[in-house]
Subunit: 285 residues, 2 copies
């Protein structure tokens, strides 16, 4: 009996970098549900319209996607089951038959336009036009049959909309990566978590608050440092209802099955007012 | 001889919450230079168009203003010389003579509209219209003489544009505060820093990076914890050119003149690849 392909929600139009992340996480066969807003991505998973959600959590140039940190806290029936990094390669894309010499306008999301400033400096006669989405700008120039316009977007979006890549990799900084989480509902995540081997080890993400007394963050981190557990990331977010207090999100290298990790969590829970593990997943490339 | 009033740049239209912060920090007599973008605020101070800049750094509901953290690093000739908190009170504001019953549309910045959801739930016949700025929406309804429209903005903006407050404090959550920094050029800041007494003590803000070896953040924080110096905030930002490495911004209670603070900084500098004090200033209300 053929297994039904997984269906994953992501934010953006078809061809968005998030869909590239879906492919890396679930393979080319996965079905997708493009959503306009991040909240819709989470809601689709909650109401079981999809089996999984793929959301960006940080970018090496722009920083964390704080809205998704907030959603991870709010949607407490989800678990992070995998991570992946997508290198953000911006390509100049046009309709087949349109040559570079004809391009007068380039559409894309403002962030993408801003990441290709060298290109626009070298081509001062080409106008930058902000658009709501990278892949959406490819869709638009194809649907409207624009002959003097191009878009800046992923190679995947050119493939999906039948457009042509005029110039590859026009971004200023190639050290531009976005890290994505694959989320599943806790019930499904438990069933999927069987094989505990992972080539590059495991990562765990959790969120906690401490009582507002001096030195608590230091003591919270000591739960990990004293057990030689490596922190990979710390992110603070405001704690609602308690001005100038914070939630802390931590990523560390370690598997929940390891005794030292269990001891660290038990130690942390002595200090934390609130503690929740958001997921334990194989360390991505 | 009368002293020339200070002139401060801020982002937003006249009447923005940032201008309220200017008043709290520099008094009612300060002159202002409203700017469209945060970068312009910093540039105006660099090129000496103004004596000071006032920028929001965090909000108790929305979190940190990450763009300004990045600017604080980039504009290395500035110093934080004071902080203040503004309670964000959203008022419904219209032209004089317009009564509440006539209101069909309410203009404001999307964030402000989203912070008054209870009001719109209770008045489902009133349309929400996103606008580029809170105070700018007051300016627009006054300039265009709109008779069926109101704006959501600060009390100061009603005062400045001669408009009328129809309803005060319609925000959903009153624990909505924004913290602002007052910035000056380092040369001017040094001249201003004379009297080292402050009613509520001093705060210091710094930024550092650590070598990417395990446990370095914990050890960096130990420089403070071991000397009973209280951290108030930690914020991480991506380190440009080093994917998955971070800059850390710390706020702590302490005066650079204290020996234990000097010892902590000396200890931190043993561990940090990069360390810069962004300012030492009286702890705000």
């Amino acid at each position: 009996m053929a297994k039904r392909p997984m269906k994953a929600a992501f934010q953006g139009e078809r061809g968005a970098f998030s869909q590239q992340a879906v492919r890396q996480l679930l393979g080319d066969g996965a079905e997708v549900l493009p959503c306009q807003r991040f909240e819709e991505v989470f809601q689709s998973l909650r109401v079981r319209k999809v089996d999984a959600a793929v959301v960006p959590i940080e970018n090496t140039l722009a920083g964390s996607v704080h809205e998704n940190y907030d959603h991870l806290l709010h949607f407490d029936d989800f678990e992070i089951v995998a991570e992946t990094s997508v290198r953000i390669v911006h390509n100049l894309i046009a309709s087949p038959g349109v040559t570079f010499r004809k391009i007068r306008r380039v559409f894309s999301h403002p962030v993408a336009l801003n990441q290709c400033l060298d290109f626009f400096t070298n081509h001062p006669d080409i106008e930058r036009v902000p658009f709501y989405d990278t892949a959406g700008s490819v869709k638009m120039i194809m649907e409207d049959g624009l002959k003097d316009a191009a878009a800046i977007a992923s190679a995947l979006s050119a493939e999906i909309y039948g457009a042509k890549i005029l110039k590859r990799s026009i971004e200023d900084d190639r050290r531009n990566y976005t890290r994505f989480f694959l989320l599943r509902r806790r019930d499904a995540a438990r069933r999927a978590a069987t094989n505990r081997s992972a080539a590059r080890g495991w990562k765990t993400t959790l969120v906690f608050t401490t009582r507002n007394i001096p030195g608590t963050l230091f003591r919270a981190l000591s739960a990990f440092a004293l057990r030689d557990i490596n922190l990979m990331k710390i992110e603070s977010r405001p704690l609602r209802g308690k001005p100038w207090e914070y939630l802390f999100y931590l990523d560390f290298l370690g598997d929940l099955d390891e005794p030292r990790v269990q001891n660290a969590l038990s130690h942390l829970s002595e200090l934390a007012d609130f503690l929740r593990v958001l997921g334990c997943y194989p360390r991505g490339e």
